[in-house]
Amino acid sequence: MRAEGVASVTRELRSLDRKAVNELRKQMRARVVPIAKEIAGEVPQQAPLSGMNHNGVTRWTGTPRASMSFTPGKSRGGGTRLLGMKFTGGTRSSGGIGFDYSELAGSSKRPGSQFSKVYERGGFGGQQHRVTGQGLAFNRGIRAFKPIRGKGGYFVFDSALKKHSRIEGMGEVAIAQFMRDATNDLQRLRAR
């Protein structure tokens, strides 16, 4: 599907009925969200690494939240996304983003500092601690827990790849259903 096509279709839809794009989004959601939830449901409840069982920001929360994004308009930032599935384990503020880190394990090039800056604690200066970010051991652990082919994400991306043809079919069905509904509306309009 090309941007020009989608843009013109949604423009035409808006001229026909301002709610038409919302209807299309609804149709998309009705079909894409269930499969997104199915994909999210395949994420294991148990943390892939025992060290993720804690109450911090990066804790493992099991099944991530699944949603859908349909953005037919022009993007100010130059984004190219049109239709996609979104998954998240939590937020930075409320925590639970262990899933997000695990999904993208090994994809960061940032090595991280080995030690923190020197700081003072309890009246004693010259304190340092080791910075243990997303390191090799973490990546190795995730790989051992969920071996995948290719370089995509470990959990939802991997599942989505395996369901790609089905997801694509869902999108087509959603559009076909929408077109059928629109045609029926037109027929009703004619019959008035």
Binding site: S15, S69, G84
Partner: protein
């Protein structure tokens, strides 16, 4: 933070890979580039010629089979083109409708009116123009143009569709079967339509309803002997019934008959003579007043309904697109031959040129796409970035490393540029030729471009592969031009020879010589057996900057020793901590 899995992107994400794969599928690149260009251009030419020839053919049928000639034919053909465009049905469909109307004997203004309303009804969704034209002209012929005009007939047909429950195209196609009997039975077209609308509320089948009504009317037009006897028995005749239908309307006439028969449905059935006619009569008699009003009433109040339905449809996107397409197709009738005449000679020479230069261009394309592909789609780019990251500390440490980096990149730059730049020139030439054809074609479409966005869009889609290719190549050309300029400036400045290491010895190092090697006077080198030291040779000697004078930073090592631990344990912990630090951050003490 969220993981986003794109299902559909707004752009062709496969990009260059797709283009290359598409091209590589062709057996001969040269022939196929020509094919693409030819397809884009002939899409216009073929469409125009086909459109022109088909319209001409339908008009020729009007002339040859119907016998309309001369000025009248010109008027009808002109009207067909104009109405086809206005309604969005196109000149071709209008021409086919005109043939049906002319065949039915309508001429002049009546024919044009029948065509206009048939097209409008077809646009409103009543069915195929040809079927509607047949129904309308049949109604006009059956009742006479002085009694019912084409506009009124179409209104009745549209009103019937609105009041009934059936597939509209089936009604338009079958209505002709009932018209002769309806007329002879004294029924108005409106009554016939109302009856069909009422019947279809039960059976939803327009053709079956038409058959039923035909049988009912026939019973009063050509009554059987039994029917005549039955009518005689209640003091009526078939002529009385026809008069009643004509004067009071069909429902009232049937009511009168039913009353005369004392409500005896069995006798009524025998009088009507067939199950179809009986079924129709029973349904009309049993309908309540509201149903009669919603069917017969609506159809009797049909004036202007076709125009209303057409107006509603006219505002829809679908119809706007159809009008745009019809406008474009109509324009093609004029310009079709002109396009072919203008473009064909260029196309021939282009194909010939491609055949001659194809192999070289094919090789060029493969190299271009390979090079770009390696950079964009493979891991090489990531590896290069990683290599940069790995080299960065060394680059920081010595200018020599920068020299090595340039040395390492030079063959890549030289090889890539030398191989690709001539190809870029060739491709620019090809694209210039293709652009010429595209501009010629689009330019030929001239004034109607602004009125027919739909067709232009279609044309753009046809040309899209070529335009995209052209865009990619122009971007590539710009990329490589910049790379070539940079490299040539580098070479013009003396290349690697221009990196004068001696000129920078005051601020940086000349290299590392921990494992031995020659040194030059005036440069500083990194040496050291007891930690890093700097050696700066000079005439008559040289100078070593000791490790301790190189500066450095305080090292903090944390040892978590409990207050109760004994001295030996604390010592062990300190040694362990130092060793751990050294494993990651280098030696803490200079060795003796």
């Amino acid at each position: 933070m969220a993981i986003f899995i794109p299902l559909v992107t707004k752009f062709d994400d496969k990009g260059l890979n797709n283009a290359r794969n598409a091209l590589s599928k062709f057996g001969s690149f040269a022939a196929d580039v020509a094919k693409v260009a030819a397809a884009a251009i002939s899409a216009v030419g073929v469409a125009s010629v086909r459109e022109a020839s088909q319209f001409e053919s339908s008009i020729a049928k009007v002339e040859g089979l119907v016998g309309v000639t001369g000025e009248e034919l010109d008027k009808l053909a002109g009207a067909a083109r104009r109405l086809g465009v206005e309604t969005g049905k196109g000149a071709l469909e209008a021409g086919e409708g005109l043939f049906v109307i002319a065949s039915s004997g309508l001429r002049g203004a009546a024919a044009i009116e029948a065509l206009e309303f048939s097209l409008k009804a077809a646009t409103a969704g009543l069915g195929e123009t040809e079927d509607i034209a047949r129904a309308v002209s049949g109604a006009v012929n059956a009742y006479g143009a002085d009694i019912i005009g084409a506009a009124d007939a179409t209104d009745v047909i549209v009103a019937t569709a609105r009041a009934g429950n059936f597939e509209t195209s089936a009604f338009a196609a079958s209505i002709g079967r009932v018209l002769p009997f309806a007329k002879q039975a004294g029924s108005s077209l409106e009554d016939m339509g109302g009856a069909v609308a009422l019947l279809t509320r039960t059976n939803t089948d327009a053709a079956q309803s038409v058959t039923q009504m035909s049988a009912l009317f026939r019973a009063f037009v050509v009554p059987t002997a039994e029917a005549q006897k039955a009518l005689d028995s209640v003091g009526l005749s078939a002529a009385d019934m026809r008069d009643a239908i004509a004067n009071q309307g069909l429902p009232a006439a049937l009511d009168m008959l039913d009353e005369k028969l004392g409500g005896n449905r069995e006798q009524l059935g025998r009088l009507l003579g067939s199950s179809e006619a009986s079924s129709a009569a029973f349904q009309i008699l049993d309908a309540d007043a509201q149903t009669i009003a919603e069917t017969f009433g609506v159809v009797n109040d049909a004036a202007g309904m076709t125009q209303q339905a057409f107006d509603v449809m006219q505002d829809t996107t679908e119809n706007k697109f159809a009008v745009a397409m019809a406008t474009a197709k109509d324009s093609l009738l004029e310009i079709g031959s002109a396009i072919l005449e203008n473009v064909s000679p260029h196309l021939d020479s282009f194909i010939e040129w491609m055949e001659q230069n194809g192999p070289a261009i094919e090789t060029g394309f493969i190299k271009i796409f390979d090079a770009v592909n390696k950079f964009i789609t493979s891991e090489i780019l990531a590896d290069i970035i990683q290599a940069f990251a790995d080299m960065w500390p060394e680059i920081e440490e010595t200018i020599e490393s920068l020299g090595n980096l340039v040395l390492a990149l030079s063959p890549l730059l030289e090889g890539t540029l030398d191989n690709i730049l001539p190809m870029i020139g060739d491709m620019a030439s090809i694209m210039s030729d293709i652009t010429f054809f595209v501009d010629e074609t689009v330019g030929s479409l001239g004034a109607w471009e602004s009125d027919s966005g739909g067709f232009i869009k279609m044309l753009e889609l046809q040309l899209n592969p070529m335009l995209r290719l052209k865009e990619v190549l122009s971007q590539l050309a710009g990329l490589f031009d910049r790379a070539r300029d940079a490299f040539e400036r580098f070479k013009a400045a003396g290349g690697l020879n221009s990196v004068d290491l001696s000129a920078i010895n005051t601020s940086t190092l000349g290299g590392r010589r921990a494992s031995g090697g020659p040194v030059a006077g005036g440069s500083s080198y990194l040496v050291g057996e007891m930690g890093p030291e700097i050696f700066t040779p000079a005439a008559g000697g040289g100078h070593i900057t000791p490790n301790k004078s190189l500066g450095g930073s305080n090292i903090t090592i944390n040892v978590n020793a409990g207050m109760g631990a004994n001295g030996a344990q604390i010592g062990e912990q300190i040694v362990t901590a130092i060793k751990r630090y050294e494993r990651t951050s280098g030696p803490v003490f200079a060795s003796a």
